[in-house]
């Protein structure tokens, strides 16, 4: 058996997105790179971070925020799905996911989703943070690169 045949790679790609331009680039990158190839399945993932209680004066405000956010996310994911379909993906091969999670760390939440779905490749857009921003608030893509196991990570510039 040759070295190349020892490994078999899963052709499932998980793209973690938000509404930023970097996320759109990540989706476009996957669309252009593998859209015309056979056998790939793509899931576009947006983890909805459970908002902190403290942010809202009342529980009604919180529920309203959650439902508006959910609508916004559904529209955003549909937009990304269309990009992939236009690039040649079969509708059966493109899915979207938007779980609601408690997320002290978004990177950890995305990686937990990856672990559950066992996708072979995880794609994220680079946020383009300054050093001081990264210092204070942390970088999702950097943390994903450091902590990802059992998958390949693409960070799209």
């Amino acid at each position: 058996m040759s070295g190349e045949e020892k490994f078999s790679y899963i052709k499932n790609i998980l793209i973690a997105v938000d509404e930023s331009e970097n996320a759109r680039r990540a989706v476009s990158y996957v669309a252009q790179l593998v859209g015309s190839l056979e056998g790939f399945k793509v899931t576009v993932l947006h983890v909805i971070p459970q908002p902190e209680e403290d942010f809202f004066k009342t529980s009604i405000e919180k529920e309203k925020w959650c439902s508006q956010y959910r609508e916004k996310v559904d529209a955003m994911l549909e937009g990304y799905r269309q990009i992939l379909l236009r690039a040649g993906f079969h509708p059966h091969d493109v899915s979207v996911r938007s779980p609601f999670r408690y997320c002290p760390s978004m990177a950890a939440c995305i990686l937990a989703e990856r672990d559950e779905t066992e996708y072979g490749t995880l794609v994220v857009g680079r946020q383009g943070l300054s050093r001081s921003e990264e210092f204070i608030f942390g970088s999702i893509s950097s943390k994903i690169v450091s902590h990802a196991r059992n998958c390949t990570v693409w960070v799209v510039e």
Binding site: E53, F55, P104, R131, I136, F137, S139
Partner: protein
């Protein structure tokens, strides 16, 4: 509880704690504090059947600017026993904060402070108190008044040169500050941020000598690193303590300080570009193991602290060697 107090009974209680000429002829009594501006000096707020006589509004230090009146924070006297309290009424605020060109969303939350007060009850390194709802469900926090100075005024007012301070006083101050960092680790371990770590938010309790964190109602919308802003605050306080004040580039320039020729871009604070962090260049006797900790908060840092445990470990290394 709907206990009512007559004007006479309130006057009688007040006379135990105030001189006669300071007792108002008539008290306005509030059980609903929704309109915080209606709660004024000499009014009485009744909460859970306890009457609190309102005194002054609290003020917050704004470095280099006039102190800001916090009109939702009142000094008050518990008329049953004369204890001095801080009463924090409900005031929601939501705004974009900006430090060193970075914008982030901040907000005040009475719920957060109430939760933390429960969590830190009995912990020597935090302020203490309890929360209670008024008759309109406003979540009011009643805090024990801490007699003592803010840490930064204590350090700034020491009439000592830096070397005498560093060898004579700093070790003791660091021991206390180490406990403060452990206290923040305690919050983080329970999923809470302090939210507003600043050098004027540590008071030195005059009675016990303990350093105590105050003000937990501030919160920020975190991104990837939930506790990153707290850690940044801890770093700023540490640099202040090691330097016995902040060393700002304009001050060094005014003094034509010789260190200016040796300072590089990476020697300043990663966010506040005019604040020197590499203090060893100014005070060469600062041990490398301590300066290395400071440098994690500098522009030249190639690795940032992600949690308090990492900071405590590095500080512990210096303390053990000292």
């Amino acid at each position: 509880m709907t206990e009512s107090f007559s004007q006479n009974s309130l006057r009688e209680m007040a006379s135990r704690w105030l001189p006669q000429h300071r007792i108002p002829s008539r008290f306005r009594i509030h059980r609903d504090t929704t309109n915080i501006f209606r709660v004024e000096y000499d009014d009485v707020v009744v909460l859970g059947g306890k009457p609190y006589l309102i005194r002054h509004n609290a003020k917050e230090l704004r470095f280099g600017l006039e102190d800001e009146v916090k009109f939702w924070v009142k000094r008050a006297i518990d008329l049953r026993n004369g204890n001095l309290k801080i009463m924090k009424l409900v005031f929601y605020e939501n705004f974009m904060s900006r430090i060193g060109g970075i914008e982030f969303e901040c907000f005040r939350s009475p719920k957060k402070e109430a939760r933390i007060l429960d969590l830190v009850s009995g912990h020597k390194n935090f302020m203490h108190g309890y929360s209670i709802q008024d008759e309109k469900d406003n979540l009011i926090r009643i805090l024990d008044f801490i007699r003592g100075k803010p840490l930064f005024t204590y350090v700034e007012n020491m009439e000592l040169g830096h070397e005498a301070y560093f060898y004579g006083q700093f070790q003791g101050i660091l021991d206390h500050f180490f406990e403060c960092v452990q206290a923040i680790r305690f919050l983080h371990e329970h999923g809470e941020k302090h939210g507003d770590i600043r050098r004027d938010h540590i008071l030195i309790d005059r009675e016990s000598g303990h350093y105590r964190w105050i003000d937990f109602d501030f919160n920020y919308r975190h991104r990837e690193n939930i506790y990153g802003y707290d850690l940044f605050g801890l770093g700023n306080v540490l640099v202040f303590l090691v330097g016995k004040g902040d060393w700002l580039l304009p001050d060094l320039e005014k003094q034509n300080h010789p260190v200016l020729s040796t300072l590089r871009e990476e020697d300043v604070n990663i966010v506040f570009k005019n604040r020197v962090v590499n203090l060893k260049k100014i005070y060469p006797y600062i041990p490398e193991s301590l300066n290395r900790v400071l440098m994690h908060f500098s522009k030249g840092a190639n690795w940032f602290y992600e949690n308090t445990a990492q900071l405590l470990e590095d500080l512990g290394e210096f303390r053990n060697a000292a």
